[in-house]
Symmetry: C2
């Protein structure tokens, strides 16, 4: 089991030498996921040694350029490198036509299947689900339709208690059902209660991603108790007028959301290029929520370690 | 008078850590010009300290992503930084709609005027002209419609010969016409022959840009006697089959074009990511054309120095 995020771009609309536009790589239970894809994402993936041909799911939060202008180039590069495994893109419906037009005008035929799942800002939507994880979207409050995403591990298996199993000579064929939390009956008609033979599952981790958004308490139910919350903090409180005007958040507001949603850890990103340092963001946020980190390009956070 | 080019991206379709996709900045007689704008161009402009708000003319050779995927981001950044001076883009007609759609979907209104001049592959076209320079396009041979560009200084003024002028007491009011190569008549009815009072003009410099193209002798008339020729050299001769298939050139072919066009200096770029070194390109080219340089990101060439 693995669950980590790598920040590929921690900046806002104006890239700087230090902060690229928004993109994050998520490695979760052997799934390789990209969230947002600002200009230069393919170079960042290469820089940080991420095997980007393994990425098969790309989530785009909204159609501001700093969140998707790197997508055509990334798909083009995947194609040129001989990809044949499909890619699924989740994002606003218009994105499908944009990509189509961009590849058509260049006469470029993708040699892999490009699936497109349109997102909606109508409440919570399940975008992806398998045996181990579930990915949902939920509405944010921005100038154009924007969604956040949550990647949630499903409940894990109960862990066998070897001592109890050995003592009662529980046969191996019942292990599978016990791990699922079921209580099978053995050949002698005795119920094998799973609570006797197992320990509780390891906790299920989850990562929530909120970019870009004004302060928006309505999103709290969708991100509650996340192991890690990424929330944009484009501004500081002293620029709160500017934050309101542009539908962005301050570091303090992001931290209040983290506190109210009772998350475990907070990482702040999308910092405006006007700030040359990040200590002010950190101290402003930590008044409200202690366990805060400021995103930097290349930062990797292992959710297993912060849980 | 100044005339220099800066290579912002010297790579081909697949960017590497060392070579960004194609883009070049030209500073010519106080005009700030960009040719092609691959992904990451705005970051490269920043990296090399180029004042990109001064760029008012952007030329796009064709609609393969590695030549224009950085354009939406650059325009967006210009806008966010408060630009109000217009930008003129010269490129394939479809590019206008692409940009329109990209900005509309993000709800982004450009606060400066975006002029668009469609290019054509129908022979030579004059795209821009002022008192000092002329910029033309000409067709290349690629998989989709593609043009090269030539930036040409117009004939410069004749330079006054101070000794001859002093000797004959030529009044100052005739200097202007003499410098233009005219022979005015003075108050005594005497013709002041400009050849007597001036030296020939300094040579007019020109830069020709050919990317991407197969070996194509038809382009020679359009680039003849350029001070500097940029020609793509995606491949080496040992990959000539691949070059033909993809409508690209080898280093040798580019050098033959330079020789036949009688240019002064050649710079080769658009090197495929398969090559880790560039010495093979250089030696292959120099068999045909000695004065060859291999482009690298950040390379600046002053045309006054190589003339």
């Amino acid at each position: 089991m693995s669950f980590s995020i790598t920040i590929l771009g921690s900046g806002a609309a104006l890239p700087t030498g230090r902060r690229n536009p928004t993109s994050q790589y998520i490695f979760c239970n052997n799934r390789h996921i990209l969230i947002d894809c600002g200009e230069g994402t393919q170079m960042q993936l290469r820089k940080y040694g991420i095997p980007f041909q393994r990425i098969s799911h790309i989530f785009i939060s909204h159609l501001h350029g700093d969140h998707f202008f790197g997508l055509p180039g990334l798909l083009s590069t995947m194609n040129l490198l001989g990809r044949n495994r499909g890619v699924t893109i989740y994002g606003p419906a218009q994105l499908k036509d944009i990509l189509k037009q961009l590849f058509e005008c260049g006469g470029q035929k993708l040699m892999f299947k490009l699936n497109f799942i349109p997102t909606s800002t109508d409440g919570e939507q399940i975008l992806f689900e398998d045996r181990l994880i579930k990915i949902t979207s939920f509405p944010l409050k921005h100038r154009i339709p924007t969604t956040g995403f949550r990647i949630q591990e499903k409940q894990k298996e109960y862990r066998l208690n070897p001592d109890a199993i050995e003592k009662d000579h529980v046969p191996i064929e019942f292990f599978h059902r016990l791990k699922k939390g079921e209580s099978p009956t053995n050949e002698q008609g005795k119920i094998l209660n799973f609570t006797k033979y197992t320990f509780p599952p390891k906790p299920s981790l989850s990562y929530s991603y909120c970019s870009d958004t004004a302060y928006f308490e309505d999103l709290i139910p969708f991100i509650e108790k996340s192991t890690l919350l990424y929330h944009e903090a484009t501004f500081l409180e002293k620029e709160s007028d500017r934050a309101k005007l542009t539908f962005h958040s301050t570091a303090k507001e992001a931290a209040i959301i983290a506190k109210k949603a009772d998350v475990n850890h907070l990482v702040l990103g999308h910092l405006s290029s006007r700030y040359n340092e990040q200590d002010s963001h950190l101290s402003e946020a930590q008044i409200e929520f202690e366990k805060t980190t400021i995103a930097e390009d290349g930062l990797k956070i292992d959710l297993l370690k912060i849980n």
